[in-house]
């Protein structure tokens, strides 16, 4: 069990080192996709999605203390 737990922990650790940040990213992926697909194929929707991720990235680095 402890070996399985360790493997799971290593696997999760590949993608998550800050739980709040990971949650914000996943949350934006869900919300952003649901919201922006109202305008399918519109050329500004992709960059708008990127801006959301950019804001989360900067918040995680500069915007708060850990």
């Amino acid at each position: 069990m402890s070996l399985l737990r360790r493997c799971a922990s290593e696997l999760i650790g590949l993608f998550v080192d800050d739980g709040l940040l990971a949650a914000l990213i996943v949350g934006w992926v869900v919300a952003g996709c649901l919201l922006l697909r109202q305008w399918p194929g519109a050329v500004w929707t992709g960059p708008m999605f990127f801006l959301g991720l950019a804001a989360i990235f900067m918040f995680g680095l500069v915007g708060r203390r850990r």
Partner: protein, 259 residues
């Protein structure tokens, strides 16, 4: 049917294969360099036979994972699967980019392979017996190091190779080229690879992977991108620019206010 070798190289260089080869290769270079440091410590402390055997066994597992997941994923890259893989790429890429940015800003120390080798050597102890003796602990330590560092390589190879079946091969070749380079240099130098610019590479690859993941999420969700596939480059540059900006801001912040 058969191309002259020079023509084949030229086609490879200008095709979409080169980004997949380069991304997987550079990322693998970083991870295999870290694994080599541990293997050197295990070899010196517990025996080279165990270090080589454990490392080799770890490689077999990694290759098995690529064979298992790689081709299968290439056939599934539609809609929700693209969003899921893209999200994992963004999480992975931004994790690398965050850490590299904090190192560039001086908040975290730069990775020092010499110091890492000393730490691992203290952990594994000094071999008082024959250097080619068999040691179970050494085998497991070497196996674990290669698998743990290599899991990131597997993810990158599989993810970068998944948009189309033809991209898996250059991604795998890139990883193999990095492996051969690290093994040869490690054998020649008998020491850790201290000159690999790990932080710079992690920052670059992190930005590329985050950009790639962002594009795939958008593509899978039906969002539009100016310039279509060319937007991937713009996204990677965008993330890298943010990293440079963030590092600059972090360096200027008073010590107590830094995250």
């Amino acid at each position: 049917m058969f191309r002259a070798p020079a023509e084949s190289v030229a086609v490879f260089m200008v095709s979409e294969n080169l980004p997949a080869f380069a991304t997987a290769g550079l990322a693998s270079l970083v991870e295999f360099t870290e694994a080599l440091t541990v293997l050197l410590a295990v070899g010196a402390g517990r025996g080279w036979r165990s270090a080589i055997a454990g490392g080799g066994a770890g490689l077999v597992v990694l290759i098995g994972l690529v064979v298992l997941f790689g081709p299968g994923l290439a056939g599934l890259m539609l809609g929700p699967a693209k969003i899921a893989v893209g999200t994992l790429l963004v999480l992975f890429g931004l994790r690398w980019l965050r850490k590299a940015t904090r190192r560039a800003a001086g908040i975290l120390p730069q990775r020092d392979e010499e110091a890492a080798l000393r730490r691992h050597s203290d952990r594994f102890g000094r071999n008082s017996g024959a250097p080619m003796r068999w040691d179970g602990i050494g085998f497991i330590a070497a196996f674990q190091a290669v698998v743990v560092e290599g899991l990131e390589v597997v993810f990158i190879v599989v993810a970068v190779g998944s948009p189309s079946p033809g991209l898996l091969e250059p991604a795998v070749l890139g990883a193999l080229a990095a492996l051969v380079l690290v093994v040869v240099l490690g054998a020649v130098l008998h020491g850790p690879l201290t000159r690999v610019p790990q932080n710079t590479l992690k920052r670059l690859i992190g930005a590329v992977l985050a950009g790639l993941g962002t594009f795939w999420i958008g593509d899978g969700a039906g969002l539009g991108w100016p310039g279509d596939d060319a937007a991937i480059l713009g996204l990677g540059l965008g993330f890298y620019a943010l990293s440079v900006l963030a590092a600059s801001l972090l360096r200027r912040a008073p010590a107590g206010a830094r995250p």
